[in-house]
Assembly symmetry: C2
Homo-oligomer: 198 residues x 2
């Protein structure tokens, strides 16, 4: 596995950075539709030739890893602008759900198996870790404060929230529900599942 070329004799040509970005974007788009898309497919969608992809990413796996990295970074960054800690648990969860859902809507690849299999930790949860970490902390806080129900295991609750997100994404992606309705159903369902009974 050779490394991606990053010359230092002169300045990096912005041309190159444009190609790299195009490939990355194309990968996000294409893999969102077909998880096992070939490098050829991605290159074509990027308006580039296959060799150019290898000029920026040493291997297919490295490209996938870059996709995962890119998206998790953006998602966690977005989540961190929310100041979830300063609001009530229920509001914070609502906010978290809104943001997560908007990300899923924008990047369907987020629910693709690609996110699980790519990257160092090839575990379905380990991959979402940096994103679900916020959720986990939030849920723990709500459970301790009495705002959330504690009858179900904490880890299960997290898994359930993720799974319902997948379901909403499927329904919207398959055209069985409008993205709006899917998002609403998602939020309502999670709240019903997580909130402490009155």
């Amino acid at each position: 596995m050779p490394e991606a070329v990053v010359p230092r004799g002169r300045k990096r040509r912005l041309d190159a950075e444009r190609s790299r970005a195009a490939v990355l974007d194309a990968a996000i788009a294409v893999l969102g539709r077909q998880a096992d898309a070939s490098v050829e497919d991605i290159a074509a969608a990027a308006g580039v030739v296959r060799q150019t992809v290898y000029a920026h990413f040493p291997s297919r796996g490295a490209l996938l890893a870059a996709v995962v990295e890119h998206l998790t970074a953006e998602t966690t960054a977005t989540l961190d602008t929310l100041d979830l800690d300063t609001m009530s648990e229920v509001d914070a969860l609502r906010r978290w759900l809104e943001v997560s859902w908007s990300m899923v809507e924008r990047y369907p690849v987020l629910l693709s198996p690609v996110m699980a299999t790519a990257g160092p930790g090839a575990d379905d949860v380990a991959r979402h870790r940096s994103v679900t970490a916020r959720l986990e902390a939030l849920i723990r806080r709500g459970r301790m404060s009495g705002a959330f129900d504690t009858r179900l295991p904490e880890a299960w609750t997290v898994a359930a929230v993720v799974a319902l997100g997948h379901a909403a994404g499927q329904e919207a992606g398959a055209g069985r529900m409008s993205p709006r309705d899917a998002g609403a159903a998602y939020r309502d369902s999670v709240l019903r599942l997580v909130r402490a009974p009155a």
Copy 2:
């Protein structure tokens, strides 16, 4: 695509039927662990050579289709022995969840993408149709009788139940929860999601 050989000059050798069954069972087991297992892998697990697989199934796709067919048949058969119509909606749903969960436990391949991609209708829902049809009917009945909540779309409710089943399977399969706990959490979550508020 040649057809599977079914001679009629003499009687079918039970030897052959044993091989066929072994291959089918091996496929169910192996694909449960690795969705993209090769015909070679499956043959090896069946204690058979690759060519023998092709002697019974014309192609890889046909084998997958046979797996799907086999499992959906068994599952629907099991579900039909329950007489769900004669009990209360909540009891019926509980029963449905128990049976479905036991099937998922026994056949992890049921949550594999194999079930979606194989078979004629390559739709995630269309494949489960014969199984989820029972669930759908059940949910509709409960919604009309007032036992279930009607604030969420019916189709969404079905999707959510399936998704939570996947989550439970994942958690149990990954060893993060015991199968028992996962099943319990699954049932509790679904009931909490579906039941009408008191």
